[in-house]
C-alpha cells in the first residue's frame, strides 16, 4: 500500500495520481485551480497529460506509453447523466491519440476516491492489479486472475479485496494478448471499447484497476445540483427522445436505418438487410430483454440487458446486452440474421474485452476477402469464412481474443490484415486513421462523414452531433442548440458552410461533454438536459462564475491539444478523409445508385472546418494565434 495524503473529503476535481508499475511507486499532484478551470476533467485532463508527458513516437505497447483514466468534472456529483470517464493513451490500433470514454459507475467511484486523473506508466513485473481507495493505491498480484474472463476476474478481485462493492475496470484475454482493438470493461457492462486501450493495459501486465471511494463529493452547491437533477428526471419522462431511449434503447435505430437504405450490410457492400426484423430493436425488446440498465445518476436508463436460454446458446445477462453498433457489426454487417448469435458474440466480446465495432468489421472484412478468393481455407485454418455464418463469427471471436490460428492475423485489425493478405484486400477495408468505421453511413449523413474524417481518435460517431437531429425546422436539435448560435435546419445531405458550421460547433460541444463527463444520451441534442443546465451545474459544482463561452473554450482547448498530439505522431491533414467506398453510390435499396459523396466537395468541407477552427491547411496544426487564444502557446506551441 502506498499511502497518499488525506483525501477524506474528496471534492469535484480530485488529484492527479501517478503510478509507475515498473518502480512500484506512486506520487500525487495537486493541480492548480487554474489547471482545473482550463482543462476541467475527463478528456481535457487526460489529453493534457499525454501531450505534456508522453515522449513523441513512443511505442503504444511499450512500458513508456502512458495510460490515463480521468472522470469528467461532473462525474461523481448528482448531476444528471454525467457519469463518464475517459481513458487515453497512444493507440496501438491507430498510432494516433487513443481516447475512449465510458459510462457506468467506475468513473464516479474513482472521483469519490479523490482521484481526478490516474496516470499509469511502466510495466509490472508480473500480472497485477491496482486497488485505489481514499487511503491510497495498493499494488496487488493478479497472477490468479490472468487468463480469466472479465466476469471471472471481477469475481476474483472482489473476493481478494473482500469488498463486493468495489468497482472493477478489467481486461479479458483480448487485452492480455494485446489484440489491437481490445477494450476495457467496468462492471462487466460498460466499456472503453475503441482504440485498443485494453491492449495497453495488457502490455503493462495490468489486469484491472479496482476502485472504492464511498463518500459523496463535496460540491459547492449540492442542493442546486439536486434541484437540476430533479428537473431533468421529470423532463426525462416527457422528452420524446429521452423517453424513446429509455423504452427502446439504441437498437430502435436499426429498423429506421434499414428503411432509410443505409444499413451497414455484408461489409458495407449492401445498404439494406432483408432480415432486419430478426435482429432489430423490436425483437430485442420483445423477446430477449430482461431488464433495463443505466449509469450513475442518470434518469434515462437506456441500456438493455438480455438473456438467451435456447438449445443453441446461453447468454448470461450479467454481461448486459448488445447496442445498435454491436448488433449491426455482427449482424447485418456479417450477414448474420440470428439475434441469438449476435447476443452471444456480444457476450464473448464483453468477456474477452474486444471492441465490438472493430471485431465485427474485421470479421466482415475477412468474409469479403474469402468470398472474393483473396484468402482460402489454407489461410483460415479450414474455416469457410462466409457472410451469414454465425458459427464462424463466434469461432473467430474466440480465435482473435486468444490470438489463435487465423484469429492472430485478425487481432491486428483490418488495415494490418489487408496489408498482410495483399492482392487488393485493402479494397475491403473501411477505416480512417487505421480504425474501422462505426455503423453509420456518411452517404446519408454528410456531417457524420466529417466526424469520421476529423475525429482525432479515428472514426468516432460521437465526435459531433448527428445530422437527423437538425434535418427540419421542427427537429429537436434545432431549438436545443440555438444557444450555440446554430439557427435553423440543415439538410442531412448538405455539405456546405451550414453543415460544416453545425459539425464544427457541435464537435466543440461534444468535446466539452467529454471534459465534463456528460453522456450524449442524456444531453441535448440527443436527449433532454439543456446546455444552460450544464453551465449551471458547473457553477454549482465548482463555485465558479462561469459561462457557456468559457466552457466551450475548454472544449476547444481539448480538441486543439488532441490535434497537436496527432500531428506530432505523424497524422496530418492527409489522414482526415474517408474510405473510398463512401465516394461511390449506395449499391441497393431505396437509394440504389445515389448519394455518392463528391470527393472534392468533401475535401472542401474538411478545409472549411479547418478554417473555422483556425487550423493550418498545410500542417493541420492550430495556428499560433489559436494556440495563444486558448492559452496553450507557452506549453505546446
Amino acid at each position: 500500500m502506498v499511502t497518499l495524503s488525506a483525501r477524506q473529503a474528496p471534492g469535484v476535481f480530485g488529484k492527479t495520481v501517478w503510478v509507475d508499475l515498473s518502480a512500484g511507486s506512486v506520487r500525487e499532484v495537486e493541480e492548480t485551480p487554474e489547471h482545473h478551470r482550463r482543462f476541467l476533467g475527463g478528456a481535457g485532463a487526460a489529453v493534457y497529460q499525454l501531450l505534456r508527458q508522453l515522449r513523441p513516437g513512443t511505442d503504444p505497447l511499450a512500458p513508456e506509453n502512458l495510460l490515463v483514466f480521468a472522470p469528467g468534472l461532473l462525474a461523481g456529483t448528482q448531476s444528471p447523466a454525467t457519469p463518464r470517464y475517459v481513458v487515453c493513451a497512444r493507440s496501438p490500433l491507430t498510432g494516433a491519440l487513443g481516447k475512449s470514454d465510458s459510462g457506468g459507475y467506475w468513473g464516479a467511484e474513482l472521483k469519490k476516491a479523490g482521484v481526478g486523473a490516474l496516470v499509469i506508466t511502466g510495466r509490472a513485473a508480473e500480472p497485477s492489479y491496482l486497488l485505489v481507495t481514499l487511503e491510497g493505491v495498493e499494488f496487488r498480484s493478479a497472477l490468479r486472475a490472468w487468463g480469466l474472463s472479465t466476469g471471472e476476474a471481477q469475481d476474483w478481485i472482489k473476493d481478494d479485496v473482500g469488498d463486493p462493492k468495489v468497482r472493477v475496470a478489467v481486461i479479458g484475454p483480448g487485452g492480455e494478448h494485446c489484440v489491437r482493438y481490445a477494450g476495457i470493461a467496468s462492471d462487466l457492462t460498460h466499456f472503453n471499447g475503441r482504440n485498443g486501450l485494453g491492449a495497453v493495459m495488457g502490455s503493462k501486465n495490468l489486469k484491472a484497476v479496482a476502485v472504492r471511494g464511498g463518500q459523496n463529493l463535496e460540491a459547492h452547491d449540492a442542493p442546486r445540483i439536486k434541484e437540476i437533477a430533479r428537473a431533468a428526471a421529470l423532463l426525462c419522462r416527457e422528452h420524446p427522445l429521452s423517453r424513446m431511449l429509455h423504452d427502446q434503447g439504441t437498437p430502435a435505430g436499426i429498423e429506421a436505418t434499414n428503411a432509410a437504405g443505409a444499413l451497414a450490410t455484408r461489409n458495407w457492400q449492401s445498404a439494406t438487410f432483408p432480415a432486419t426484423d430478426k435482429i432489430g430493436g423490436a425483437v430485442l425488446n420483445g423477446q430477449y430483454l430482461v431488464k433495463r440498465g443505466g449509469c450513475y445518476a442518470c434518469p434515462v436508463q437506456c441500456k438493455r440487458v438480455v438473456a438467451v436460454d435456447s438449445e443453441n446458446f446461453k447468454v448470461d445477462p450479467r454481461y448486459g446486452g448488445p447496442e445498435y453498433e454491436t448488433i449491426l457489426a455482427f449482424g447485418s454487417n456479417c450477414g448474420v440474421d440470428d439475434f441469438e448469435v449476435i447476443a452471444k458474440a456480444n457476450e464473448l466480446c464483453n468477456m474477452y474485452t474486444l471492441d465490438t465495432i472493430s471485431a465485427g468489421m474485421t470479421i466482415s472484412f475477412a468474409m469479403a476477402c474469402f468470398e472474393e478468393g483473396l484468402i482460402g481455407r489454407e489461410e483460415t485454418g479450414g474455416l469457410d469464412v462466409r457472410f451469414g455464418d454465425g458459427e464462424v463469427v463466434l469461432a473467430l471471436i474466440e480465435q482473435i481474443a486468444h490470438r489463435q490460428g487465423f484469429g492472430d492475423l485478425l487481432a491486428e485489425g483490418s488495415v494490418r490484415a489487408a496489408a498482410a493478405i495483399g492482392g487488393g484486400a485493402d479494397a475491403h477495408v473501411l477505416a480512417v486513421k487505421g480504425q474501422e468505421v462505426p455503423m453509420h453511413d456518411p452517404r446519408v449523413k454528410t456531417g457524420l462523414g466529417l466526424q469520421f474524417a476529423l475525429s482525432p481518435n479515428g472514426p468516432d460517431h460521437w465526435f459531433a452531433q448527428h445530422d437527423p437531429l437538425f434535418a427540419a425546422e421542427t427537429s429537436p436539435g434545432v431549438a436545443a442548440l440555438a444557444p450555440l448560435g446554430l439557427l435553423g435546419s440543415v439538410a442531412p445531405l448538405d455539405l456546405g458552410p451550414a453543415k460544416v458550421r453545425l459539425i464544427r460547433e457541435t464537435s466543440v460541444l461534444n468535446s466539452l461533454y467529454d471534459c465534463l463527463g456528460v453522456c450524449v444520451f442524456g444531453a441535448v441534442a440527443r436527449s433532454m438536459t439543456s446546455i444552460k443546465s450544464y453551465v449551471d451545474l458547473v457553477s454549482a459544482a465548482t463555485g465558479w462564475e462561469t459561462s457557456l463561452w468559457e466552457l466551450m473554450h475548454a472544449g476547444e482547448r481539448a480538441l486543439a491539444m488532441s490535434r497537436v498530439f496527432n500531428v506530432r505522431e505523424g497524422f496530418g491533414p492527409e489522414t482526415d478523409t474517408l474510405p473510398s467506398r463512401f465516394f461511390t453510390p449506395i449499391a441497393d435499396g431505396p437509394l440504389a445508385g445515389q448519394n455518392a459523396l463528391d470527393p472534392n466537395r468533401f475535401a472542401e468541407a474538411v478545409r472549411l472546418y479547418y478554417g473555422m477552427s483556425a487550423w493550418d491547411e498545410g500542417t493541420g496544426l492550430p495556428t499560433a494565434g489559436k494556440m495563444a487564444e486558448l492559452g496553450l502557446d507557452e506549453e505546446f506551441a
Binding site: 423504452d247 430502435a252 435505430g253 429498423e255 430483454l289 453509420h440 437531429l469 431505396p590
Partner: protein, 82 residues
C-alpha cells in the same frame, strides 16, 4: 356509385406512439385522396419533428407527399446516433 377512398395503414416503429414495450404499434386511418402523411401524423398526435423516415413498400416518402393509393406506411423515429 361507389366512391374509392384510399385506405392507408400507418405502422409506427421505435416507440413513437409508446403503446406497449415492443415498440411496433400500428394505427389504421382512412384518408381522402391527397391527404399528406404529415396530416396523418398530426391526427395520430405524432410530432413530425420526431419522424426520421417514412416508407411505403420500401420507397422513402416525404412527409408532405400526398397519399394516393392503398398501402402501408411505415414510420420510424428520428435516429440521432447509437
Amino acid at each position: 356509385m361507389t366512391r374509392t377512398v384510399p385506405e392507408i395503414r400507418v405502422v409506427t416503429h421505435g416507440g413513437l406512439l409508446r403503446r406497449g414495450r415492443r415498440g411496433s404499434t400500428d394505427d389504421t386511418v382512412i384518408v381522402d385522396p391527397g391527404t399528406t402523411l404529415a396530416e396523418v401524423l398530426t391526427s395520430l398526435g405524432i410530432d413530425r419533428g420526431l419522424v426520421g423516415v417514412a416508407a411505403v413498400d420500401g420507397t422513402i416518402v416525404q412527409l408532405d407527399a400526398a397519399l394516393q393509393s392503398d398501402g402501408v406506411v411505415h414510420v420510424y423515429p428520428i435516429f440521432g446516433g447509437g
